[in-house]
């Protein structure tokens, strides 16, 4: 057992007023220091490739979606946010998603989908803003998820770099 004795206050501390004035001086000084407020909608948060924003689907440079609807992200998703239905295509890679939906209300931005993806088709973008007036509006379909590979480039490079470590 440790007994911690309360510190004996000095006379000046006991009459309290000098300490009050000291406190007032501190708050007064703070009034002239630079502000730290961020004017949010105008000044957005800075993002880097490490920012784990909302998941987005890669559209390759040839205009085709990189996803082959293998369903691994769907299986990895701990929040059951992803729903995928596949279909056949005429391209060499025979399969592509017919429906790829992410319920952004369910998504917890954990990045497991990105980690599970064997085709480098889903990445956590730097997009963070999420607002709508209906629940249905927040179930993102393929059209709202697709991003050209060039916009996701920093993140793709970052993930590749990280994955090289094992």
């Amino acid at each position: 057992m440790v007994v911690v004795k309360r510190r004996e206050l000095t006379f000046w501390e006991r009459i309290y007023l000098p300490e009050i004035f000291r406190g007032l001086a501190i708050t007064f000084k703070k009034m002239f220091e630079p502000r730290v407020t961020r004017q949010y909608p105008e000044e957005t948060l800075p993002t880097t490739e490490v920012t784990r924003g909302q998941p987005r689907l890669v559209v390759k440079d040839d205009g085709n979606i990189a996803c082959v609807s293998c369903g691994l992200c769907e299986a990895a998703c701990p929040a059951y946010a992803i729903t995928i239905d596949g279909q056949e295509t005429e391209r060499f890679i025979e399969r592509e998603p017919e429906r790829f939906e992410i319920n952004m209300l369910r998504c917890i931005l954990c990045g497991f989908c990105e980690e599970a993806c064997p085709k480098e088709a889903i990445f956590m973008s730097d997009e963070l803003e999420l607002a709508d007036t209906t629940r249905q509006g927040l179930v993102y379909d393929m059209k709202r998820l697709e991003r050209p590979a060039s916009t996701l480039k920093p993140r793709i490079d970052y993930v590749r770099r990280i994955n090289e470590r094992w």
């Binding site: 293998c70 369903g71 596949g86 025979e94 399969r95």
Partner: protein, 508 residues
């Protein structure tokens, strides 16, 4: 009884058993089966691709190698599927030699395998995937490019072949030879250019092609109708029985996200169907479609179409109809389970009605493998219960003597219109027709409908019960998905109707 079921049903009394040791465990192994079956008996899993318990062992894949020590001979690595059981064998599946042999074998199998698991429909139930995960190496050592073969080879209406994925286990070749006894597939070419082919690219024929996709241990032979429809781990699998003929094959009903039945596969049942199922049963998915279902109660509207109401109200109206007419006729469908049939019989006695079921016309699908040619899974059971079997024409003829007709059961509406029969239009005008079915009947035009009330029933993937097949065996069906909202279980519905009729009796 077909050859196949004869072959597999029961154990011959002359069966010989010897004592062997598997991984230190003593097993009474059958001498007429290969060593791999003794391992199965000892609950030791031995990887295998070419071996299938329903087919003749061939030993082409070499993955089932185990270490066997016999007598004074030194321990040797052998393939378990082609080694006969001998007394005093000491089998060890986990030695370093056995592991090495299997791993190296696996490396060769994967040498030319395209590794397109994300695209492959087999992913998730692929044994190549499972064993390479369990025993294989993380990375391939081969520097040569993989061979390029045809990835979308059409083998008829049912099966699509991906030659790159094929590991040449020849299960499909042996299946076609041994089960439907119509050899159509062969291995063509030599070495790494060997492929599975049909003669001169003739499309496959027969009613058992679907099984090829099941016997294929990898994703080489896939069902066209299931292609890219679902990932297998998203399917909810329920053990049930097929209702497409009176054989009642054991099936696994696979449902995607509590919605449509996406796949039906055979389930091993030694006494009925072995490992197989015919394509008629496998592709009978439309029968369970959620579209055009009869839900709740429908009454012909005075103007056009239907007026909907609840099942409870519907049964009230139905009980009115059943008690006011004289001697109603009850027509059951052979899809009713024994439980439902019994309840229906009790109901018939209560209202003093004649209870018959539609004896379906035999179709030309009958073969000597599985299909009996008699659609109607519970024909024998319902006959045993005491329901009278009548063809659709007979029923329509008899119905003219009745003023109230209750048609009940899955597909009963469709059955009445089969062959020469005219369906509901063949029933006498003025008779009250009550229809309890799954399918939405044809909408009445201008308030003129042969049907006076229609109440929805669950289909056979949505209820629990049992049928009795043509050999008198009990075939259980289980609920694979919930019935659509507003559909009562058939048993509950019948009991409720019975109760309503009893109350009416008490009141009068």
């Amino acid at each position: 009884m077909s050859d196949l079921t004869k072959q597999t049903s029961g154990e011959p009394s002359t069966i010989e058993r010897v004592e062997i040791t598997v991984n230190g465990q003593t097993v009474q192994a059958r001498t007429d089966k290969p060593l791999i079956q003794a391992c199965v008996q000892a609950e030791v899993e031995v990887p295998h691709y070419c071996y299938h318990p329903g087919l003749t062992p061939e030993g082409s894949c070499r993955i089932c190698q185990v270490e066997v020590q016999q007598g004074k001979m030194p321990a040797r690595v052998m393939v378990a599927c082609r080694t006969p059981v001998m007394p005093g064998m000491v089998v060890n599946t986990e030695t370093e030699n056995a592991h090495d042999a299997r791993r190296e074998c696996l490396e060769f199998l994967l040498k030319n395998h395209p590794l397109d698991c994300p695209i492959c429909d087999k992913a998730g139930e692929c044994t190549l995937q499972d064993y390479s995960f369990a025993e294989g190496q993380g990375e391939g050592r081969s520097v040569e490019p993989r061979r390029k073969l045809e990835k979308r080879k059409d083998l008829g209406d049912v099966i699509l072949l991906d030659q790159e994925r094929c590991i040449l286990c020849t299960r499909c070749v042996r299946f076609m030879e041994e089960v439907p006894k119509s050899p159509q597939l062969c291995v063509a070419g030599r070495g790494s250019h060997s492929t599975i082919e049909t003669w001169n690219d003739t499309p496959l024929s027969g009613n058992y092609q679907g099984n090829l996709a099941d016997v294929c241990p990898v994703g080489a032979l896939t069902l066209k109708s299931f292609r890219f429809k679902a990932r297998v781990w998203n399917l909810t699998k329920t053990a049930s029985s097929c209702g497409e003929c009176s054989r009642g094959c054991a099936t696994t009903v696979e449902v995607l996200r509590k919605g449509e039945v996406t796949r039906i596969r055979p389930r091993h049942d030694e006494d009925v169907n072995g490992w197989w199922i015919c394509d008629t049963g496998r592709f009978a998915l439309d029968a369970f479609s959620l579209a055009d279902r009869l839900v709740g109660t429908l009454l012909p509207s005075a103007s056009r179409g239907w007026d909907a109401t609840s099942v409870e109200d519907g049964l009230q109206i139905a009980s009115d109809m059943l008690t006011t007419g004289d001697k109603p006729l009850i027509i059951a469908s052979p899809w009713l389970t024994q439980e439902e049939g019994g309840e229906l019989l009790a109901l018939g006695q209560k209202i003093n009605a004649q209870v018959a079921f539609v004896s379906t016309a035999s179709n030309d699908l009958a073969d000597d493998v599985l299909h009996t040619g008699d659609p109607g899974p519970n024909r024998r059971g319902l006959s045993d219960l005491g329901l009278k079997a009548m063809t659709a024409e007979e029923i329509l003829h008899t119905a003219s003597e009745h003023s109230t007709v209750l048609c009940i059961g899955e597909r009963v509406g469709r059955l009445l219109g089969e062959g020469e029969a005219e369906g509901f239009n063949g029933l006498p005008t003025g008779a009250r027709v009550l229809l309890f079915d799954c399918e939405l009947p044809e909408a009445p035009t201008e308030g003129n409908s042969p049907i006076d009330i229609a109440i929805g029933l669950p289909s056979s993937v949505e209820r629990v019960g049992h049928w009795v097949n043509i050999d008198g065996l009990r075939r259980n069906i289980l609920q694979a998905r919930p019935a659509p909202a507003g559909v009562w279980n058939t048993l509950r519905l019948l009991k409720h109707l019975h109760e309503l009729l009893t109350n009416r009796e008490v009141q009068s």
